[in-house]
Symmetry: C2
Amino acid sequence: MNVLPALSDQKSGQSRVVIEHVSPEIDGGRFPIKAIPGDVIAVEADIFADGHDYLSARLLYKHSHDTAWIEMAMTLIVNDRWGASFIAEKEGKYTYTIDAWVDHPASWQHEIHLKVADGQIITSELLAGAKYLDGMIERAGGRIEVKEEGKKGGKSKKKAEPVEESVDVRALLEMAALFRDESRYDEAVSVAESDQFTFYANRYPERQHVSRYAAELGVEVDRARAGFSTWYCLFPRSASRQEGIHGTFKDVEALLPRISGMGFDVLYLPPIHPIGTSHRKGKNNSVTCQPGEPGVPYGIGSPEGGHDAIHSELGTVDDFKHLIAIAANYGMEVAMDLAIQCSPDHPWATEHPEWFKKRPDGTIQYAENPPKKYQDIYPVYFETEDWENLWNELKRTLLVWASWGVRIVRVDNPHTKPFGFWEWVIAEVKQEYPDMLFLAEAFTRPKVMQQLGKLGYAQSYTYYTWRNSKYELEQYMTELTQTEMKYYYRPNFWPTTHDINPYSLQGGHEPQFLIRYFLAATLSSNYGIYGPSFELMEHVPFPNKEEYLNSEKYEIRLWDWDKTNKLTYLITLVNRIRHENKALQATNNITFCQVNDDAIMAYLKVSGDNRLLIVVNTDAYNRRAGVIQVPIWQLNIHPEQSYGVHDLLTGAYYTWQGEQNYVELDPYALPMHLFKIEV
Amino acid sequence: MNVLPALSDQKSGQSRVVIEHVSPEIDGGRFPIKAIPGDVIAVEADIFADGHDYLSARLLYKHSHDTAWIEMAMTLIVNDRWGASFIAEKEGKYTYTIDAWVDHPASWQHEIHLKVADGQIITSELLAGAKYLDGMIERAGGRIEVKEEGKKGGKSKKKAEPVEESVDVRALLEMAALFRDESRYDEAVSVAESDQFTFYANRYPERQHVSRYAAELGVEVDRARAGFSTWYCLFPRSASRQEGIHGTFKDVEALLPRISGMGFDVLYLPPIHPIGTSHRKGKNNSVTCQPGEPGVPYGIGSPEGGHDAIHSELGTVDDFKHLIAIAANYGMEVAMDLAIQCSPDHPWATEHPEWFKKRPDGTIQYAENPPKKYQDIYPVYFETEDWENLWNELKRTLLVWASWGVRIVRVDNPHTKPFGFWEWVIAEVKQEYPDMLFLAEAFTRPKVMQQLGKLGYAQSYTYYTWRNSKYELEQYMTELTQTEMKYYYRPNFWPTTHDINPYSLQGGHEPQFLIRYFLAATLSSNYGIYGPSFELMEHVPFPNKEEYLNSEKYEIRLWDWDKTNKLTYLITLVNRIRHENKALQATNNITFCQVNDDAIMAYLKVSGDNRLLIVVNTDAYNRRAGVIQVPIWQLNIHPEQSYGVHDLLTGAYYTWQGEQNYVELDPYALPMHLFKIEV
C-alpha cells in the first residue's frame, strides 16, 4: 500500500501524469491475454494530470523477439479514457505498456489559438514557441552547438547552431528563426497556429517528465488453430471394422478420408498408453474384469511402459508417427490425452514410490472419492517432497510426445493437479515448442476453470454441455464473450463427450441432436464431437447417470463407420460453411438479437464484410415462430433499405426490411437458419 | 506478466491455494481504504485450490503499532468466495492480507464421516489421524522428543514423548493415544468424528505450504470527525457588526455561540494571510481597485508575509490561536484554507523566483486562462527544478499551521497541483499530526477528483451542488456509495459555496433552499454551508454566472447575524437530529426506496437499531403525492405487522403497515419528512 515517491527521486516529483485502469489487464498484469496472429489488441486506460494542460500518450508494444518498443499514439475517447490498438501479427509473446506526458507544445498552441482569436499580441509567446522548436530540432537529429555570445544587459545569450541537417531539421530551423523574427510577425503567427507545427511537435515530442505505466502487460499469441478448430474424438481401439478385433493406428488412418471429409481438423485420441492389469475394470465399469477384457485407457501403465510408451495392440511409436503424418496430409492434427494418474503397474509405482501418497502401513494409497474406492488407480501425489523430479518427468513426457509430432494435448482433469504445475509445464514446453496447444478438460467450479485458462491453457471445456434453454445459453455466452473471460478463456463446446451423455440427449430425439450440434458449431469457433457415438445419436444411458451404457471407455466397440444420416449431413455442411465464413472462426464477435419467443435464439456474427445471422429454435419438440429485431444500425443498413438473408443451409433467400422480421422454425423439418446477410 | 515460480523455489511447488480478487482493494493495493474508529472492515476474496480438499483461510490484520498479525478465520460464502471482517478500533494505519492452505485434517475428517456412514473399517485412517494429532501437539507447545526404539520388521519406529504439558496438550495426547489403540476402536471413531477434533485442528492448524496473498492492503483510520462533520464557512473580515469596519478574530469569537448553537462543528475560514496590492482586484472582480478596497483573500502575500503569516487587520497569530481555543470550548474546530498561489508581492516571488514560471523576457508569468489574464496572481510552478525545496516549504507551512492548533485544512483547487505532491505532503504532515484532515476543493472531472480521494484527502467536495432532480441525485448517490468510491472517497455536500451560486437557487425560492439544505444534511454525513449568505438565502447572481453579485471575495460584507427564519430553524433542528441519530452519521448506509412519483425521493438510513426513513419532495413548486415501497424485509418487519413512523421534524406520528404507504408533501408547508421507524 501507499508507496510514496521518495523525495530524492527527481523524476517522480516532476511527473504529473497518472495512468491507471488499463484494459485489457488480467489480475494486475499477473496473466497475459490471448490472441491469434492478426488479432487487433485494443488498449484503453485512464490518463490524466493535474491542471488543464494537454497530454500526449503512447501505447508501446513489442514482440519478445524485438528489442525496441513500437509506439502508437493514443487518442482521448471520453472522460479521461484514452485508447489505441496494435495488431498482434506474429505468434509468440507481446508485451505492451503506456507512456504519457504533459504536452507543453500542444498546450502552448492551444493558448495561441485563444489569444489570437481574442486579438492579443503574442510576441512573447512566439519566443516561448521558438524554445519548443529548439527542442524538436535537437530530437530530430540536428545537434545544437551552444555558443556563449558574451553578456548583454547582464544576461548571457545563447545561440543555437545545428551541426547536421535533415529535411525536418531544415524546416524546424526555419520555423524557429521565423518565430524569433519580429519583422515577420504575421507569418510567424500563422505558422504557430498551423498543422505543420502540430505535426512536428508530435513527431519529435518533448516527453518531459514522462510517466510510464507501472506494469508491462502480456499477450500470448497462439497459432491460428487455437482460435478456430473442429475436433473429432475416437478411441483407436474401436477403429476396426471387424467384430472382436482390436483397432490399430492403421485402422484409424483408413478412417481419415471420411473424418476430414466431414470437415474436422483435430483428431483427439483418449490415452494410447499401455493399460494396467491390477484391479483392471470390466465392461460398464465393473470392479471385476473378465479374461480378455481390454481395460480402461485411463488406467495407464504396465510393464510395457507408462506415459511415454504406446499400447502395443494399437501399434508402435513409428505407427503412431505415421498416423500423424498421414493425418497432416488431410489437414488434420492428432491430439493426445494427458491423464496424470497411474495403474498400480505403472513403472513409476516402483521406480518413484515417493510420487504417491502412502498409507500408514507404507503401501501406496489408491484413488478414493469416499465412500467410493478406485483400486485400479494411483493418483500422483503433487505435495511430494520430490515434486521437482515429478514435474521434470512430466515435462519430459510432453517433450517425448512433441518429438513424435504431437502439438495438441487435451488434459484430463487438470483441476485436480496444482495450478503452479500447469503454469510452469505449459510455459516450459512452449519454450521449446511454441506451437503447442493445451485443452483443459476441467468440469468444475467457475473460478477454477477460469484460473486454468489464465495460466496458459489455449482452450477450455465449458458448461455448454448443460446449457440448453435460450436464457441459459444467452447468459452463458454473455459471460464468456462480454466479461474479462473473453481475454483469456477460449471456449471449446462439446455437445457430448465420452464421459458425458447429457440428460437432454438421452431421449435420442433427432431434432435435439441437430440443435445441440448446431449451437456448438455456430456459438463457438472451437467445438468438438465424440465422433461415432454422437453421429449415430447414441443415447442409452447407464441407468440414472449422465454416462453411456456400454461405454467404450470399458470395452471395444464396433461402430458403423459408413452410416450417414441427417446429422452427418448437417455436420458436413456446417463445417464447410465454417471454413468459408470468417465470422464463424471467432467466438467473441457475437451479438444476440431480441426475439419475441422464449425458445427462438437469434445471433449476429460479424467479421469484416462477412455477416451472418443465425436463428435456432431451441425447442426440439414444437414449431415456434417469432419476430427478430435485427440490429440494422450495427450493420449500417438504413431502416427503409431492403436486404437479403440467404440461408446457407437450404439455399433459401428472403428479402427483409427494417428491424422486425418474422421467422418460423419446425424442429421436424430443420430447426435453424444460417443466414448470410447480403445488402 | 506471467511470473513463473522458479523450480528451485521449494515452497511454491507445493503451495496449491490461489488467493485473488480481494475486496476491498484499491488499484491493486496502491492506495488504502478509509475508515473511522469502530468501522467494520469486511474483507472478501476468491480462494480455491486444485482438487476437492478442504481449505482453511485466515484474514490477517494489524495496526502499524502492532508487531504481530491478528488472525480471523474466514468462512466460505459461496462459489469460492470467502469472507471475514475485523474492526478498525484505533486511529492510524492498519494493514491486512490473507493466508490460506489446504486443510488436510479437515479433509481427513470429512472422509472419515463418509466412510463411517458407509460402514467401512477405518483403522488405517485413524493412524493417519494420529499423525495429524502429533502435529497439533507440537504446535500446542508440547515439544515432542523423538526416541529411536530400535528396528522392528526392518522399519524404525518412533515414539513421541511430550516434554511440557498444557490442558490442550494433554487432551491431544489422549486423543492420539486413543487413535493408535485398536482395542478402543469405537471410542476412537467417535472422537475422530467429533467437534473436539475439529476444534483442535482449527486451533493448531497445519498451515502446510501456506499461500500468502501477494499484497498487504491498507486502511487509513482517521478520527471520527472525518466521517461526520458539519461545516460553516465565513469570511472573518465580514464578522463585524458595524458597517465599514474590518472584522477580526475577536468578532468571530462573538459569533461562536450562535454558530455552535445551530449545531456546526467546523468553522472554515477562507485564507487569512496578508493580501497583495499589485494588480489588486476591486469589488465584483474588477481589474481596477479603488483606494481602500480590501482585495481578495486568495491574492496571498505582501511585505507583511505569505502563507505562514496572518493578515494584520484580522488580528495576530495569538489572536488566531485564541479563536481556536474558544472554538474548542464550543466543540468546534477551525479549518484553514490552503490556496497555493501568490500575489506578486508574496515573499516567495523575490526569495524563490525559481518557483515560478518565467516568460521569455525573464519576468514571472502571471496566471492565465486564455484569453483571460489574472495579473494579480502568480501560480506556483510545480515543474521547477527546485521542486524539492518548494515541497518542503509547503510542508513547513502546514506544520506552522498545525503548531497554531489547526487540524483541518480545506485545499483550494488541489487538482491544479501534482498528485504526487499531495500524496507526499499529506503523508508527511500526518506523520507528525495523525489527526490532520484535508478537504479537497476540486470541482473537475470525475477521475481527477477520485484520484485526490485515493491519495489521501479525508474528505472531498462533490457534484452535489449541481445534482437537483430525483434521478440525478439517486444516480450520484449510487456512484458514491455503491461503487469502489465508497472505500476511499468521503463526500462533503455543499448546497452553495462562496464561489458557487448555483442556478437552481438564483430564484431565491425558499422551499428550494429548504430542499437543497435538507438533502445535503441527510444524504451525506459530512456537509457544509456558506454560512451567512446561505442562511439569508442570498441569491442575486453576478449576471449570467453561477457567482454572487457583490461577493465578499472582493469586498467586506455586513451580515445581519441576528436574523432567524424558516431555514435557520430547519438547520438547527436537523443538526440536532443528526447528532442524536447515528444513522445520519454515516453516508454509505443508504438504501433508496421506490416511489411512484418522479419528484419524491425516499431513502432509508440504518445504523444498528437506529432506522430512519427520509422523504423529500424535490419539486419546490408543486405539491406531490406518491406511494413509497418501504423495504420492510430489510427492516425485519412482517408484512402484516404495523409500525410507527415518527416525523422528527414535526412530531407527527403515523402508523403504517406493509410495503406500500402513501405520502404527500407540499413545498410551501414543509417539503420533507424525517421519519424515525419505531416497531
